[in-house]
Subunit: 137 residues, 4 copies
């Protein structure tokens, strides 16, 4: 069952050309939890050698939408989200861990934490809070 | 003077590998105003053929940072922002128009509107509001 | 017609005990525009003699809900909003001016600017952006 | 030590006329944690008999500022926050539980959860995420 959901989520991710371009991976996908990761290639950085904030906001947006979809069904949209950047994102990889805070049949309020993974461990680099809605609602 | 600022802004953009990857262009850059654009290539879409929300959030993040930098100086960071998606982003191009709402020496509150450009005109597709801070502050 | 809407809005405001407690006034109410005001009594301040941020967030929340209701109908709820405080709110009165940025049948994205009115004019003291939804949607 | 901080926090709260008007109580106050409560008097409701959203946003704003101040020092301001309303707030009391997610010497990113307390237990009714800054920074 869980494996089915993960496989399904990976198929959805593979159908997003932008996520394919960035090489986004879906690590975990269960009802109420989603974990996405991106390898920090040189072309994903900004001028100071850090992960571009826009890459982090992409990953947050996508993790929020995935986790919202895990409880609302496949056809969802991000309605809105807010992101706070906490510290510079250095390392070889960024992982977004999202969970559902509250859901109705029509929308889910979801939160996402972004971690930069480096040789010595991981740092929380950003936090996002947003609303995912069923399409057509 | 204005041309100098625009040229300077374009050099900053060219120093962001992620923006180079996406082909982001700086159209306007004056004190308090910035306009960035991206051509909507097929690889920037999501599974329904629309611009990926994460692409829009990247563009909003970057436009907010540029316009904040236009009044605070080059060395700025996005502290936080919120984005509301208003309607599906279809078309050949997305343009982000950002302006400064209020600024002190240390931070600027900035707003950004994103438009999808298509054959029949343009649609407002998202709006963002955020805080840009001087690095080290 | 416009007067009818204003009268109707004032009746709604009068039915909110919390707004009655604070003495909130509805100055303008048309489809897509709402203006609310509060006299800055001593009991509405915080410890530095400024308007309490929570008073401003109340006024923003209410102005967003009113303006959303002006296009969605009476039975609306604030789904979420964000507020940026721009400068200290000093003066004898705070006015919130809200407008609709984009609306569907189910929800409206609305913006609100808050001004402190004082002897020498007015200052923009906060800006808010939020989502108003039809109840039951 | 902890008791000293709680006593100090209560003195700060008592110096906010708006909080005195609303009868806000400080239940917990340690480095990184703050808990505020309000009894839901009839005059704090909106037209449907629920806690007014603006009351909740006031409480979130204040809990965020207190918890930010617990790590930054007394002289802080709310820079911005976002609140998502999750379900109607019914009951006899609202409690806001705030914690610090990340802090530098100048600012703290804080989160706050609001619970409505009723005869059968408590419900999470809203969640807020915001930035608290040192005054003068």
């Amino acid at each position: 069952m869980e494996n089915d959901l993960l496989e399904y989520g990976r198929a959805v991710l593979a159908s997003q050309p932008f996520s394919v371009l960035l090489g986004t991976q879906l690590l975990t996908f269960t009802a109420g939890r989603a974990e996405l990761a991106i390898e920090l290639k040189p072309e994903f950085l900004q001028q100071h050698g850090l992960a571009h904030g826009g890459l982090l906001s992409y990953l947050a947006d996508n993790a929020l939408a995935f986790v919202g979809g895990s409880v609302l069904g496949a056809d969802v949209l991000t309605s809105e989200f807010k992101i706070n950047y906490l510290r510079p994102a250095r390392g070889h990889r960024v992982v977004a861990r999202a969970h559902v805070i509250s859901a109705s049949t029509r929308q889910a309020i979801c939160q996402c934490e972004l971690f930069a993974m480096h040789d010595k461990g991981e740092n929380l680099v950003a936090i996002a809070l947003g609303t995912i809605i069923k399409r057509g609602s």
